[in-house]
């Protein structure tokens, strides 16, 4: 093994020893808590985006006919819809199919059985060729036989806007907490340098280069950041598991198997890498500021 590699290994070993102490682990935990906030928020957003993704984001309008309308009226309406250039797709949902879909929802089976007759109307799901839904919806509402019009992709688009807002908020939070992380490590490294004052002075006296003296501190910062990242991921996993207990029952009541998902592997990797990188940065700033002051006298 070359001397250079040996020195790095020694520095890394020293840093690990310093990390594996109550003070080292406590700092890592603080960082973990701080990093868990944007990381957890990111995991939540990703899960919600998957949820919103199930709802179609195509511009769609649901048309409900009057309950008394006959099938002939529905056919005429269907022809009129297909003729409209602003409409790209038309799907007819007869009342029998609608009833079947509704009975599949938990708890509805008995309700429907007790009703006797089918209360649901025939319906059309119309996909528009452009996003200007409101004018089209208003026009379609005037067609004969139409009792109610619902431009129901509006809520999905609102969800998308909320998601972007959430993402922006997360970035700001992450930037703030990232700065906090750098400050925490700056301080722990400063304290470590002070603790080792004598050793540093003696090392400089007998001919240690700046690089030799700095190396263990850089590794310590890197390791604390990385350990903080690991703690953060563990915290997020724990929180998601706790939340999922409730989410599971809520989703099942909607007939869904939705769960809050953990960060994707790439996302988790980025969290660790960024935390370690910021740890290195904190160490760099601290070492640059504080090592110069310790010189043999």
């Amino acid at each position: 093994m070359t001397g250079w590699l040996r020195q790095h290994r020694a520095a890394l070993r020293t840093a690990l020893q310093r990390l594996w102490r109550p003070s080292g682990l406590a700092s890592a935990l603080v960082i973990g808590i701080a990093v868990s906030l944007p990381a957890g928020g990111y995991a939540l957003l990703e899960s919600l985006r998957a949820l919103a993704g199930r709802a179609t984001l195509e511009p769609q309008i649901s048309l409900f006919l009057r309950p008394e309308a006959k099938r002939a009226e529905a056919d005429a309406l269907g022809r009129a819809l297909r003729a409209d250039p602003r409409v790209s797709k038309v799907r007819f949902v007869p009342r029998e199919d609608a009833l079947k879909q509704l009975s599949a929802v938990e708890g509805m089976g008995e309700v429907i059985a007790s009703l006797g007759r089918n209360p649901l109307p025939d319906a059309f799901v119309v996909t528009a060729s452009e996003h200007a839904l409101e004018p089209l919806a208003a026009d379609l509402a005037k067609l004969p036989g139409v009792a109610h019009v619902q431009a129901d992709s509006a809520w999905a688009r609102r969800l998308g806007a909320l998601e972007r807002l959430g993402r922006l908020g997360l970035w700001l939070l992450a930037a703030l907490l990232g700065a906090g992380l750098v400050a925490v490590i700056f301080n722990t490294i400063r304290l470590q340098i002070l603790t080792q004052r004598e050793e540093i002075e003696v090392s400089k006296l007998i001919g240690a280069t700046d690089a030799f003296i700095r190396r263990p501190f850089y590794y310590l910062g890197l390791l604390q950041g990385a350990a903080g990242g690991v703690f953060a991921l563990a915290i997020v996993a724990g929180l998601l598991a706790a939340l999922n207990i409730e989410v599971r029952s809520l989703a099942e009541s909607y007939g869904s198997s939705f769960r809050l998902a953990f960060l994707p592997a790439a996302g988790a990797g980025i969290v660790l890498a960024v935390a370690a990188g910021l740890g290195w940065l904190g160490a760099h700033l601290s070492v640059s500021r504080h090592l110069r002051e310790i010189e043999p006298r």
Binding site: A10, V202, T209
Partner: protein, 216 residues
């Protein structure tokens, strides 16, 4: 090996530690630097490993002008100089053996080779039996000998000692000086500062007299 040319050291407060000091120390020579406390001995010695920089004049060590050295080059200068101070600057958070290993870990040597050298140095100063002890357990004389072992473990060409026998009884002081003489006999250049004139006269080596910052 070491030469001073009209070296002066003045501190910002107005105190003049050294004034126009000139001398040359040949390679392999052993010399004593004599003077009362406050005469400037420590300052003179500190100029050699660039712990202090001269206000004027030139300090040349192994052909290099120390006063003009870049910060990055200073560690390499110091690796070739063994330093022993009155306050030995030992590390009490580790064993005697680890103290001597410190200079060797700087240069990234293989651990077995480094351990061998450390033990050889401890053996030369007679401390091999105490290698596992903590320096705090050693007597004053033993601590000084440990400082010497650390200073010589990297086989420097130049050895500098500032009052190495100051707090020692006559017997320990003699032992310590014998070690310096032994190193000198294998070719190490040695410069020892002391105020103990009587001790020095016994050796019959070159003596540099420093008084009020001037070499007399």
């Amino acid at each position: 090996m070491v030469s001073f040319s009209a070296v002066a050291k003045r501190y910002p407060g107005g105190k003049t530690a050294l004034e126009s000091v000139s001398f040359a120390l040949a390679a392999g020579e052993l010399a004593f630097l004599i003077g009362r406390s406050g005469a400037g001995k420590s300052t003179l010695l500190k100029l050699i490993p660039a712990i202090e920089r001269p206000t004027s004049g030139a300090v040349i060590v192994s052909g290099q002008n120390v006063g003009a050295l870049q910060r990055a080059a200073i560690p390499y200068l110091r690796r070739n100089i063994g330093l022993v101070f009155q306050d030995q600057k030992l590390l009490y958070d580790r064993s005697v053996f680890d103290n001597v290993m410190l200079p060797l870990s700087l240069t990234g040597q293989p651990p077995q080779e480094a351990a061998r050298r450390a033990r050889a140095a401890l053996d030369k100063v007679g401390l091999l039996a105490r290698e596992k002890s903590n320096p705090i357990e050693l007597s004053g004389g033993e601590q000084q000998r440990l400082a010497i072992a650390r200073a010589v473990v990297n086989r420097p060409a130049l050895l500098i000692a500032d009052e190495p026998t100051a707090n020692l009884d006559a017997e320990s002081a003699a032992k310590v000086l014998d070690i310096f003489v032994a190193f000198n006999q294998v070719g190490v250049t040695v410069l020892i500062a002391t105020h103990d004139l009587a001790l020095v006269e016994r050796f019959g080596k070159r003596v540099l007299h420093l008084a009020e910052g001037r070499l007399g």
